[in-house]
């Protein structure tokens, strides 16, 4: 058995670069935030199409979810960053490619969550709204979605956390996030344990802060 204690931890290089880690983490956060908002918008649209009752719309929406849920984020990153550039000559910057990949992956999950939320509502809600003469869009906007939102906040929080962790993959297409900082540090000092522990600590802290935010949001939106 090897003696674990024989290894001498070297936290110095990590602590010296705390500002780089935080800058990298900030990039992960805003890239995730943008992707999450886009994924929610896309997800609502797909959920509405799936529940439209028109097969021409619901079938493609179903296929979209099934396919996108199955494709790994890593594959999306390569597709969007390298593949799209080669196939149609559209060049994304690494960050743009990351946002597109995260949005696509996230939208498959948010679509399912919004579908579940909409289906959880009593059919009488839509009937009452329609009987008042509201349009389909108005019914979604004023009656169904505000109620759905309250149901889906906890599962959406999970999607956000998933995307935030997914964002750490962005370093493989040369996005300079906190993982790339850890990689550089590992190469220069050969301290993989310390470097990636730093990433883990930051993520755990971010998730904790985010969860607290979700709890507050739930409380604010709670109905009497």
């Amino acid at each position: 058995m090897t003696n674990v204690l024989a290894y001498e931890f070297a936290w110095g290089p990590v602590l010296d670069r705390w500002d780089l880690f935080l800058l990298g983490a900030w990039l992960d956060v805003w890239v995730t935030a943008i992707s999450f908002v886009l994924a929610c918008a896309l997800g609502i649209g797909i959920a509405v199409l799936r529940l439209s009752g028109v097969r021409l719309l619901s079938a493609p929406a179903f296929a979209y979810v099934q396919i996108l849920r199955g494709v790994p984020l890593l594959v999306f990153l390569y597709w969007v960053y390298f593949g799209v550039a080669i196939v149609i000559g559209l060049n994304f910057s690494p960050v743009q490619a990351g946002i597109v990949a995260l949005t696509l992956t996230g939208s498959a999950y948010t679509a399912e969550i919004f579908r579940g939320g909409l289906q959880a509502l009593d059919a009488g809600q839509a009937e009452a709204s329609r009987s008042l003469g509201l349009s389909r869009t108005g019914t979604y906007r004023h009656v169904l979605l505000p109620q759905t939102l309250r149901i889906v906040i906890p599962p959406l929080g999970n999607v956000f956390i998933g995307l935030l962790k997914g964002a750490t993959l962005l370093s493989i297409i040369a996005v300079s996030d906190m993982v790339s900082v850890a990689n550089d540090l590992n190469i220069n000092f050969f301290t993989p344990f310390e470097a990636f522990t730093a990433v883990a600590v930051i993520l755990v802290a971010l998730v904790a802060v985010f969860s607290a935010g979700v709890t507050v949001l739930e409380r604010v939106l709670r109905l009497p």
Binding site: D122, S131, G133, L134, V143, P146, Q147, L223, P224
Partner: protein, 276 residues
């Protein structure tokens, strides 16, 4: 007012029909052999302005579905509904987007003139009572927020819910919820009110209050179609009664006549079961 519109209004005052339904058919799970249920099998119906039509019948006879067909929440599979002289069928023009949009717009316009009160209230839980009532006027009639708010408070006041305007549905009792729901329908200033077993989900001690509210509305001249199991109300407030069973109108006539001296066997059986 144009001359034509004035004539139309004058005609309506002379007891013209507000709504005429002809040959209404409706099935659920249509096209699925085993599961298809033919709920309405050719129903005709006429309601004159100011009239109160009470629809009675055993559960599953299609009463609620009939109401839903009248305001196209469940569009009829066959037959037509003529409302204030405008004829509509359940046939959606699917091919041409422009026609389809016009059809949708017609439906919305038509629904703004028909108020509906549901068995389970169907209030919007994320809005206060006042906002529940104001939603239709702002979003379907195009009133400003202020106008809608005023109208909302006025209607809530009328049903005795003025004090509860800022409460959410979950803070109200069943009877209070139904009053708010009635106010919500009335805030649209409808020409016709549909009541779908409005008292069936209420505690017994609250039923009387809602029936009283409906009676007052009838006395104010509102045209109403009421699906109910309250025979006392049907006899007292109803002008005409329509007895339905298995998707067809079995018997129809003056409220008192039908309830006190039913001619048809099925009506007799139903009434003796419900009144005993």
């Amino acid at each position: 007012m144009t001359e034509a519109a004035a004539n139309e209004a004058a005609e309506l005052d002379l007891g013209e029909e507000i709504v005429v339904a002809e040959g209404i058919h409706k099935s659920f799970n249509r096209g699925q052999k085993e599961r298809e249920i033919h709920v309405l099998r050719g129903v005709d119906l006429k309601v004159a302005k100011g009239e109160v039509l009470v629809v009675i019948g055993p559960s599953g006879s299609g009463k609620s579905t009939l109401l839903r067909c009248l305001n196209f929440i469940a569009p009829p599979d066959a037959g037509s509904v003529t409302f204030l002289g405008h004829c509509l069928t359940g046939e959606v023009p699917r091919r041409r987007p422009a026609e389809r949009m016009r059809y949708e717009r017609d439906l919305r316009f038509y629904r703004t003139h028909i108020g509906m009160v549901f068995q389970h209230f169907n209030l919007f839980p994320h809005m206060t009572a006042a906002d529940n009532v104001a939603l239709g006027p702002t979003r379907a009639l195009g009133l400003t927020r202020r106008e809608a708010k005023e109208r909302s408070l006025e209607e809530l006041e009328r049903v005795g819910m003025g004090e509860k305007a800022r409460q959410y549905p979950s803070q109200l009792s069943g009877g209070q919820k139904q009053r708010v729901a009635i106010a919500r329908a009335l805030a649209m200033r409808p020409q016709l009110m549909l009541f779908d077993e409005a008292t069936s989900a209420l505690d017994p001690e609250l039923i009387g209050g809602i029936l009283e509210e409906m009676k007052r509305l009838a006395e104010s001249g509102m045209t109403m179609i009421v699906v109910t199991h309250e025979m006392g109300f049907a006899r007292e407030v109803g002008d005409r009664v329509l007895f339905m069973d298995e998707g067809v109108v079995v018997e129809e006539g003056g409220a008192r006549d039908v309830i006190e001296r039913p001619q048809n066997e099925r009506t007799q059986a139903f009434l003796s079961a419900i009144l005993s």
